[in-house]
């Protein structure tokens, strides 16, 4: 069953099909929020809110609409509402507190967050679109108003810039 078929069934009242979508998208959405704001409890809460909205506003889903695009639109709105209520805690350069016992992976995660926080918005956005939303070049081009060759170049430069920032932080 495709995402679109599952969501259409949900919109028609077959709410159990929402579980399929939840299982497919929970990890992607959790990380989508984590890379915008490093607090894990918060990211879990925001992910939960996305699915609550999917259920609550299921009637607004139009048959044939690409579910991935629709659900990430919901996620962006959820995050936008979060920012309105928490303007102070939006600093992506904040280092998440992992306590005393973090391992190498956690350290990488911290460094990566700091690097992402320092990445210019145009690059961060294209990384999030390609990595977390798994969009095609054409879809990213439509969102950012870029040609496909330019999307590829921007993705390349974003990864390159992220690498430079990461290595700089790692060497400090």
């Amino acid at each position: 069953m495709t995402d679109e078929q599952a969501m259409y069934a949900v919109s028609q009242g077959d709410l159990d099909k929402a579980a399929i979508l939840y299982e497919r998208y929970k990890k992607t959405l959790l990380n989508f929020f984590l890379y915008r704001h490093p607090d894990r409890e918060n990211a879990k809460d925001l992910t939960q809110q996305v699915f609550l909205r999917v259920l609550r506003y299921r009637h607004t889903y139009r048959e044939g609409a690409v579910f991935k695009t629709w659900v990430f639109e919901v996620a962006r709105n959820v995050f936008h509402d979060f920012l309105k209520q928490n303007p102070i805690s939006t600093d992506l350069t904040e280092i998440p507190d992992f306590g005393e016992s973090y391992d190498d992976t956690e350290q990488q995660y911290q460094y990566l967050h700091r690097a992402l926080g320092q990445l210019p918005d145009v690059y961060r956005e294209v990384l999030i679109l390609s990595r977390f939303q798994n969009m095609s070049y054409e879809q990213i081009g439509a969102v950012l108003d870029l040609s496909v060759p330019n999307v590829k170049v921007r993705v390349f430069r974003a990864i390159q810039k992220l690498r430079d920032l990461y290595l700089k932080i790692d060497n400090q």
Partner: protein
């Protein structure tokens, strides 16, 4: 340039034939090979540091799903879409219009008043100059002797830190006095300015919170009250804030204010507001859009706080 091909390679978009050609190029060009290897490594790190959802998240989702199913069984023929597209859309229309008007005011005062206060902190701490324009913000007056003490270059670091801390306290106290004054001002725009000042404080004194609550209860301007709700939500951990928002929802009959309060109370997860939601959804005098929102929000809040 090979930028687009490298991107295709990293994102796994190359065909077998293209991959073969690209790998030949990598073998022939050590500089390119190193560059691509580093980029591949960071791209993989980005993927490998992704977090897994935990069981608490799953439990919460399935509980919410069950709740939604129960709600659907209770109201199988509820014309949700029809109501939402008529009354509630109208309400949203007004809300958007009012929000835009309020937003212009908020943006104006945030830009004009809030930023300079933060800049003043940096000036004092970083420059340590006697001439630092600490009093450039018209409402904030810093005692002259404090700025002079900080300016002394030979002051011992410990003393310096104490004095900076003292200056910070003084600034905060002054800010709070300014806020209390602004909230009592006759002009609604001045009161909005005061509310926006509060939004910049992390831990305002109880007197400031109390003044905000008083504004919520008695201010005649709807825009001021709407801004107050938004700001009060930031201090959700205070019991009196939660209580006062519930009390205001019970009292007001303004649809926009009711909408803002309901949405805030759900976000704040104030379970105590459920009886008021219930009362609103049953009250025929209440705006139909608000009644629908109260009904849906009651089920959402019940699920979230179970």
């Amino acid at each position: 340039m090979k930028e687009d091909i490298i991107t295709d390679y990293l994102l796994g978009q190359l065909t077998d034939a293209e991959m073969s050609v690209f790998e030949q190029q990598l073998l022939a060009d050590p500089t390119l090979r190193q560059e691509v290897e580093e980029l591949r490594s960071i791209w993989q790190t980005l993927q490998s540091t992704e977090k897994e959802p935990d069981t608490a998240m799953d439990t919460a989702f399935y509980k919410a799903l069950e709740g939604e199913k129960k709600l659907k069984e209770k109201t199988p023929s509820q014309p949700f879409v029809a109501i939402q597209k008529t009354k509630f859309t109208n309400l949203s229309y007004y809300a958007r219009y009012a929000a835009a008007v309020a937003g212009i005011g908020v943006a104006f005062w945030m830009g004009r008043q809030t930023a300079p206060v933060q800049v003043e902190y940096r000036n004092v701490v970083a420059q340590n100059e006697a001439s630092a324009p600490v009093t450039a913000v018209k409402e904030v007056t810093i005692p002259k002797e404090l700025t002079e003490n900080i300016a002394t270059p030979n002051t011992a670091p410990a003393n310096m830190m104490q004095e900076i801390a003292s200056l910070r306290r003084e600034m905060k106290m002054t800010q709070e006095l300014v806020i209390l004054g602004l909230l009592k001002d006759q002009s609604a725009s001045e009161r909005l300015k005061g509310i926006n000042y509060v939004a910049t404080l992390e831990q305002p004194k109880p007197a400031v919170i109390e003044a905000l609550i008083k504004t919520l209860r008695s201010d005649e301007s709807l825009n001021v009250r709407l801004s107050t709700i938004e700001t009060l939500e930031r201090f959700r951990q205070e019991t009196q804030v939660r209580t006062s928002l519930v009390a205001q929802l019970e009292k007001t009959d303004e649809p926009l204010e009711q909408t803002a309060l309901i949405e805030s109370l759900v976000r704040m997860r104030v379970r105590e507001s459920l009886p008021v939601f219930d009362k609103l959804q049953k009250d025929e005098k209440t705006d139909e859009g608000v009644r629908l929102l109260a009904r849906n929000s009651a089920s959402e809040l019940a699920m979230l706080t179970e």
